[in-house]
Amino acid sequence: MNPVVDKVASWSEEGKKAALATVVKVERSGPLGPGTSMAISEDGQVVGSVSGGCVEPAVYEEAMAAIESGTPKLLSYGISDDEAFGVGLTCGGIIHIFVERVDW
């Protein structure tokens, strides 16, 4: 079973709005490949992850915005090897994440 889809489905049954963030592309070295996803409910619950932990806060904000507006967004986060240590990402690289409101 997919824990993220599982959770999103149960939020939907409870009538809660939610957003889904999915890694669609990873350039160079990254710990989690395309298809990895994270979901956020309108009341701030989170399931899953999209990186080693460093882009989640930014994705959380974008997800909340998507729940509000209904407009999907393709996001890119690029971290050079030198900067990677500073922001806490375990690997250098660029990840592309698609964020959308679950209204389908």
């Binding site: 999103v8 490949g33 395309p34 298809g35 690997c91 679950v102 389908w104």
Partner: protein, 293 residues
Amino acid sequence: MSLLSRWHALLREQAPVAIATVIEGPGASFGGKLLVTPDDHEGSAGDEDLDRAIVEAARGLLEGGKTETRHFGPRGQRRMEDVAVFIQSFAPPPKMYVFGAIDFASAVARIGKFLGYRVIVCDARAVFATRERFPSADEVVVAWPDEFLKTAEVDHRSIICVLTHDPKFDVPVLKAALDTPAGYIGAMGSRRTHNNRTARLKEEGVSDEQLERISSPIGLDIGSRTPEETAVAIAAEIIAFRTGHAGGRLAERSGPIHTPDPDVADSPDAEDAKRDAGRDARREAAGAARDAR
């Protein structure tokens, strides 16, 4: 039923399903979502022709359990880049067949489950092939291994581990395994068992080329002794085989740790990673040659 609840239901049944999302494209199509199964589809990217192209691509990817981004024209045209569609396959878990209900099989079944395989243990001896001995296996089958394998569903993602190391069982089951498209075939045994088995397989008409498909003796060389350690060595070999890595210590090499998953294409970077990996391999080979001198 919403697309989400259908998706959820299909995953729960472990039925194959692909989800296609338009992640780049002109206004009307952007964010479009389709759910695609081998038999039907629902949802739309806003254009009938584009939908048709996406469904076709998704079915192809779903068959191989692959996830990737495909590009189309606004009306589904090939060789155009306007619309980028991320297609994610949710294929049923790949199968791991374990033959020989010995202690090692129990550890291999456990690690197989841990890696996400659907694990099927098979042995001809009813005393050994029991649910109690293999609580983590999805199925425990009492049958002659070769006869069972001839009727079993095996695809290119399937793993076959032959742990019987009894020529009475393992020669026929390995012959049956070579007739399948299995992605990995491994056979346990000492060097002596291996030599003996190889000779017998050759007597049975198995070619050298076919023999190369069999990982024997099974596992990476990490000095395993216990069933659990051996299971780790086998699991590590299965992963390395799928990804095309040689095994060995990361601490002793340079270059990227993660190369693209063969089932998840993310071109054009896949090309970069391949180039990097090739450079590392060449560097290591040069180092090894230096050490030899």
